[in-house]
Amino acid sequence: MLSNLWRKIKKFFIFLKVGFVLASRDIRRTSVWTTGLITFVMMLTFLNLIVVRGILVGLIEGSIIANRDRMLGDVFIDPLSNKKYVDDTQAMVDFIWSLPETEAVSVRYTAGGRAEADYKDKVQREDITDSAGVIVAGIDPVAEDKATRLSEWVVDGEYLTPEDSDMVMVGSNILYRYTPIEDETIKTAAVGSRIRLLIGGAEKEVIIKGVVRTKAGGVDSRVFINSSQLREILGKQDLDANEIAIVLKSGADADGFKQVLVNNRFDSAGNIRTGAEALPKFVLDIQQTFNILGNVIGGIGLVVASITIFIVIFVNAITRRKYIGILKGIGVSGRAIELSYIIQSVVYAGGGIMAGMMVIYGLIKPYFDKNPIDFPFSDGILVADIPGVMLRAMVLFVATMIAGYIPARIVVKQNTLDAILGR
């Protein structure tokens, strides 16, 4: 039995050697243009497989990055479902700072309200004003900037300072000139305008100092004010906050950090989640949908590639049917001939994949990294992670091998004499 296996292995290597000689000579002596064209088609297929999905996923990935980097941080804590605030915020923050992984912490107070622009022209209380529903976020501008680099996203005016009083920074989604949606945007306000904040029963006149546009929906719909001032408006005496965004040092593990907080029972004071877990559900849903969509489009590309290779190999094999017959006639095994066509398919696929990789990592990805696509809700990048790309390359490889094998098999299994005589 062992000798039988050994004989089969030996035979396989002979088939491989003969197949390789036939394939290499075939490729070498076929027109360069034909080989180039087939390789080019394979490259386009590979790009279709990677780039279309990469942009679709990258589009939502940009939004995820924006939400995580500019709002949630690596670990995000908000109140438990039955609470309004994170209990004993100060003790929790002290503990967080005691951990070596902590890079920055932003403690935020939030309150729902309305921002009105033309409130001075209002005659009747019922008059419709130029206003929008907003979330007012009380922040420590320095801590916030350290955590989310919010100052980098100021598109008009200036960033808040701790000394600013009666000054706010508004998100771009609140102003019509940045987000031209008729309802729920303020049309007449700009930097320097005076607006009125209505929060619960309280009201406060403030001046717009700056506008931020981060492409994180949760940030761009907010009005930022110094936390001390918001607490004053709310009449809030304690320091219990609504949000704590924690940024960890590079390389630190968010899950591990979260676990430390849980182990120290802080999960009874607030809802502790990693940045990824705290992402809005719709973002995760869109990510999943785009992933499926990308895979469907990639799958269609794969089928097209397989059909292309099938046709190329079939035409090649059928036009050489006579020679295949002769090879079989002189004793060359059908398996060796089939292998020669599989090797040819692999060479075409390999060439296409290599060219595609060079285009992706040498051209397209660096370009998109430098020039993200300016979508309204995110900066679209190209997601082309190495494991994902390698997996798709493998899938294309296998599909191509099968697509090369089937037509070769069809032609090789025909009667030898009929093939030789062209019957």
Partner: protein, 236 residues
């Protein structure tokens, strides 16, 4: 070396069945140069395909080197073809993407010989047929006669027990044809068993033995000398 018993080959079935070989019986000894001749449609090529294991008969037996192969398993027939038989086809049947050397190397590589060894043997074989200076030429860069010589080199490179040639001179001019036949006779002198199908009585007469077919039956089986005499007489 070759023993044929009650060999029948037909095409089609039922009312449309056409019997091409009608129960042939003959033997060919080792080292013989046998020409199979006959008019077009007499069944000579069909007989060669049965002897060369390229086709299966309807009934009967084909014994090659003591092994019955007409009714044996496909893999045994393939292996037997690879190690023991050589073929020369009418239209040379060279692979256009392979050089002369590579064409000759193919059966050797398939036998499991190393690339270097196969290359050396192929070069020797090509030198034997006078193509030592055309080793790297593709078939398209060779004349018809040269291509047929490559085909002969391929047929003999692996030292087969029997060489089959199907109308090897049909596509060649008389000078190239004579050249090919000279090679055949040289090969035969070294003890090579050869079976050649030809419709040319002049060329058939050069063989040791001439089997003449007509309508699927053997109508003559004579020594080459006798056949040569007949050819000469018919010319007079």
């Amino acid at each position: 070396m070759i023993k044929v018993k009650k060999l029948v080959k037909s095409f089609g079935s039922g009312e449309n069945e056409l019997i091409v070989l009608k129960g042939l019986d003959f033997q060919i000894k080792q080292g013989e140069f046998v020409a199979i001749t006959g008019r077009s449609g007499s069944g000579k090529s069909t007989l060669l395909y049965q002897l060369g294991l390229l086709d299966r008969p309807k009934s009967g037996e084909v014994w090659l080197d003591g092994v019955e192969l007409a009714n044996s398993h496909k893999s045994l027939r393939t292996d037997f073809r690879l190690f023991n038989l050589g073929y020369i086809f009418q239209d040379y049947a060279l692979i256009p993407t392979l050089t002369a050397t590579e064409n000759v190397m193919m059966p050797l590589l398939m036998q499991g010989k190393t690339f270097k060894f196969a290359e050396e043997i192929a070069a020797e074989s090509l030198a034997r047929v006078g193509l030592a200076d055309k080793l790297k030429n593709l078939p398209s860069q060779l004349s018809g006669g040269q291509q047929q010589r490559v085909s002969i080199a391929r047929a003999i490179a692996h030292s087969p027990k029997i060489v089959f040639a199907d109308e090897p001179t049909a596509n060649l001019d008389s000078e190239a044809s004579e050249n090919i036949l000279d090679i055949f006779m040289e090969l035969n002198k070294t003890g090579q068993t050869m079976v050649m199908v030809t419709h040319e009585p002049d060329y058939a007469a050069l063989a040791d033995r001439v089997i003449t077919l007509s309508d699927g039956t053997i109508v003559a089986d004579e020594r080459g000398r006798k056949a040569r005499k007949k050819v000469t007489q018919s010319r007079k």
